[in-house]
Symmetry: C2
DNA sequence: CGTAGATTACACAGATCTGTGTAATTCGGA
DNA sequence: TCCGAATTACACAGATCTGTGTAATCTACG
């Protein structure tokens, strides 16, 4: 039941906005009473936190070459934008929508962004890039920028543009870091 | 009067979110009656559109060297983030908050982002860079990415990271475009 | 002074939202 | 079959929001 509530909350919160979706709407969508929903989540804030926490899953480890994984992240973003159900980063949206500075959403959003950055950093280190930490931040900025631009423009091409920029940054960083791995 | 309403609406909408601020709050903040506000703006939607349109001002022309202007944009962002009143891009926030796809906010936000991109493109062309259009999009992505990252992290350093990335992209693009101007 | 337009106070309609209280009902498992 | 837990229907409180109606009042200006 909890999971079914969270699935529906995810779909509605992400698709229409957290403030725009009422608790009644979620319950009605599932076909349960509002009381049941409140028995599982004592308040809407609890539901919001659970919704965001559920999206806080680390990327599954892959044995593909690091460079391929990095570029794959941009490709995946491009495909996601192209589906049309794309509505930006749920964490950034939540923080922008819930402007109370003390809201738990801020903590979760930060954890997610940092998790992604560290994922980039690990791959960059495997490529032997010395400036892995700084570059990982820049790659994350490119991802977030492509997401923001895609919200406004609705055009998957922005992800390709970000990918091209990432490639330039990677090549520039590789020049001063001579440790090419056999994989790529 | 119109201007006073718009000033206050801007401050509250941007600072707390469009959905989070009621018409009553804006009127009370100025010290006017709600009726007066509705006499100037027939609906909240009209007020939202006016609020966004008012922010749609082109950057004033500058006679400084193009490269300096481009880097200055990132510096300005860094300073803005550091002030603490920074709450992201008002246009992206509006689109994310008002998820109705037909809302006029989408059109205005797109106009703004395109205006900024074209501003970058013009400067890049003056630098004799052949890939000005593609690069301008990438610079805009870096700006938007730094903004999104700053919302979550609250750290002005992300703007500096974006600036450094922009510099790398510019240098890479300049290699194949030999037309250095005397200014910079 | 006199008038026209702007502004005010204020009540109110109607919608929506979060959250609660309660008693009846359903359902799974021992 | 029986018990306890989950779920249901449903009303309701109380807050908030957008938008309107109206009559009184202020204010600028001829």
């Amino acid at each position: 039941m909890q999971e079914r509530i969270l699935e529906t909350a995810d779909r509605l919160f992400y698709g229409q906005g957290i403030r725009a979706v009422g608790v009644d709407t979620i319950a009605a969508e599932i076909g349960i009473s509002k009381r049941t929903l409140y028995n599982h989540f004592p308040s809407k804030d609890d539901l919001i936190v659970a919704y965001l926490s559920r999206r806080l899953k680390p990327a599954p480890p892959s044995d593909r070459p690091p460079l391929e994984q990095i570029m794959g992240a941009f490709d995946r973003l491009e495909r996601t934008i192209a589906t049309g159900v794309f509505r930006g980063c749920p964490f950034v949206n939540a923080v922008a929508e819930l402007k109370e500075p003390a809201h738990a959403a801020n903590r979760i959003a930060l954890a997610f962004k940092e998790q992604r950055r560290v994922w980039f950093q690990g791959l960059l280190e495997r490529l032997g890039i010395g400036t892995a930490e700084a570059l990982s931040m820049q790659l994350q900025i490119l991802m977030d920028g492509a997401i923001a631009a895609a919200i406004v423009r609705g055009d998957p091409a922005v992800a390709a543009a970000a990918r091209a920029a990432a490639k330039v940054l990677l090549e520039a960083a590789s020049v001063s870091a001579p440790r090419p791995t056999p994989n790529d």
